[in-house]
Symmetry: C2
Subunit: 351 residues, 2 copies
């Protein structure tokens, strides 16, 4: 065991210094109770505390008040480019309210996620923001059982019983934007590289794609869908390979995610095919720097920072008892037109 470092000053020390009782110090330091003190005493305490460099022990305060002003954030993978802006949004809102974020990378493994959430709960977080992956998992159950306020971000619970709140993008609309754009360019044979079907975004976007195609009177075999097992570049490439083999007639593909679109780029390059001349591509997310790729990716933009802000705001309201039950926030995505989707190649030709 290590030796604890230099003793810190306590409210007792300040009290002694000023000649008041510790509870008076506590009252002076808390803006909400300060007015119950004479201005003169409050001022003397504040000054003495500042002079001595006193810093309150928030742990002790939390133990007493049962509020830690700490929020747990569980991510599956911080290196996935969608999460940093979400985290930034969360952090900004929390900081403005005096809260801090305890961030834990849960990974994809359910068991490890359980552990992470339990550890956060043991640290008495006031609530949790879950950006974890799987659609119906035990983590939500765990939090619910612990009566911890939670908000899901970038995913939602499938069941309509609205036990939990979530902040998501409108995937139906997103896919409609993508498909409408391609159809307006003249495409009729459009494929979809879908995301994992155990994720709400994977399922929702597939649904949105199908609905949008149907709205244009388009259906199989003009349509083909392949499911990628993960939102990852290599999974996208592998899915693209299967899709292009199965349906060489396709003139355009909508990917459920920019990473998958990049995998599709890889496969096109490997086949010596050109985008958009041989195949038009539309992604989803508008993650950073996709405007710099060759060709710049046309994609559906999700405002991730705002997602994080909304999630943190919603959670804080729950923590304070101002919001109850399952309240969903749905953000509107936009289409960002760049250069990866163009007119279809000559009808009937195959690349």
């Amino acid at each position: 065991m290590h030796v604890p470092r230099g003793e810190r000053l306590t409210a007792q020390d300040i009290a002694r210094k000023v000649g008041v009782h510790p509870s008076t110090v506590s009252r002076a330091l808390n803006p909400a109770t300060r007015h119950r003190l004479s201005e003169e005493v409050a001022a003397r305490i504040l000054q003495a505390a500042a002079e001595a460099g006193y810093v309150r022990n928030d742990l002790a305060a939390s133990l007493r008040t049962r509020r830690s002003e700490t929020i747990g954030v569980v991510l599956p993978d911080i290196t996935n480019p969608v999460f940093p802006p979400i985290l930034e949004g969360i952090e900004a809102v929390l900081a403005a309210e005096g809260y801090v974020a305890m961030v834990a990378n849960g990974g994809a493994d359910e068991e490890r996620q359980r552990l992470v959430v339990e550890r956060l709960l043991a640290r008495q977080v006031d609530g949790l923001i879950l950006a974890t992956a799987s659609l119906r998992d035990t983590i939500v159950e765990l939090c619910l059982a612990a009566q911890a306020p939670i908000v899901l971000v970038n995913r939602s619970e499938p069941d309509a019983d609205h036990r939990v709140s979530s902040v998501v993008s409108d995937d139906m609309r997103g896919m409609k934007l993508a498909v409408d754009h391609l159809v307006s360019l003249g495409h009729r044979r459009i494929g979809h590289i879908a995301g994992p079907q155990n994720l709400s975004t994977g399922k929702g976007r597939l649904e949105g794609f199908t609905a949008a195609m149907k709205a244009h009177g388009l259906s199989a075999p003009a349509v083909d869908v392949v499911v990628a097992p993960a939102y990852a570049r290599d999974a996208g490439r592998e899915a693209a390979r299967r899709l292009l083999e199965r349906q060489p007639d396709l003139t355009a593909v909508v990917a459920a995610n920019d990473l998958l679109a990049i995998g599709l780029y890889d496969e096109l390059a490997a086949r010596g095919l050109s985008c958009p001349d041989d195949l038009s591509v539309v992604g989803h997310n508008d993650m950073p720097f996709v405007d710099l790729m060759s060709p710049p990716l046309t994609t559906v933009r999700i405002r991730h920072r705002e997602m994080g802000e909304q999630a943190a705001g919603l959670l804080l309201r729950k923590v304070r008892g101002e919001a109850e039950g399952g309240l969903d926030v749905v953000l509107k995505p936009d289409l960002v037109v760049r250069a990866s989707a163009g007119q279809p190649r000559q009808p009937g030709t195959r690349p």
Copy 2:
């Protein structure tokens, strides 16, 4: 004020259930003291705790033990692509040791950073990892005064008195790799878009660039340096504009950072110039997806995840009193050759 949610079980509750004293429960739950108990009692306690779903209140334990097993991580900007892998590395090492990370976005503002660090200190973090920006700031002083163990990551303290430890990349070597590569391609007139000179990476890389050029017998006016005020795309573009105006003879530019290199790409595109035909470009960091840009960026790779791992490991050793004073870890970078640097254009020509 919100109503505290459902009461949680305490060690007392478990003690009552099993018919032992709370301190016995504590001993059973702690693997380090469990052996001092009869196996039978320990087993009964463990089972009762598991059955009842007991979760220890870590806050109370921390208050008593003066160890929070929590590490504060201060970042200037989580959306900067270098930080997610660093954070991932930190988080992985901490998690393996039972620690969690409290992450706070400090921003660039010193005052706000102070606040953030103070808040973390108040929460009794056992130590801090600072990835914050400025070279000589008050934040380090603040931590030192509070006697909090700290490790700097991706920056170091300039003064050689080695008060603090840091984990950095070997920028001298990184710039040498970049310059050697360009020189071997035939370049003689090479410019540098330097990073902010109040950051150790900005300063170090400029130094490395100058030294590497000198080693080849190259100096002004074959050399020109322009300083970007921030590691950002637009700052890079603006710096590139100044550099290209001032020195149209340059055939190659080394950027102190990939973001700056991207800004340079932007400026080249705006001028209708081609990379690498008109100008060769080498970046620094190898951030995700620069291999997908057009042209794929030749750059110096830094192993950011490992930086995070090393920083966390080093800090944990300090927290445990196993490491003292200023211990620096320097990681070796590599050159990743892609397509943004080629042979120089015809000598004497200007693009």
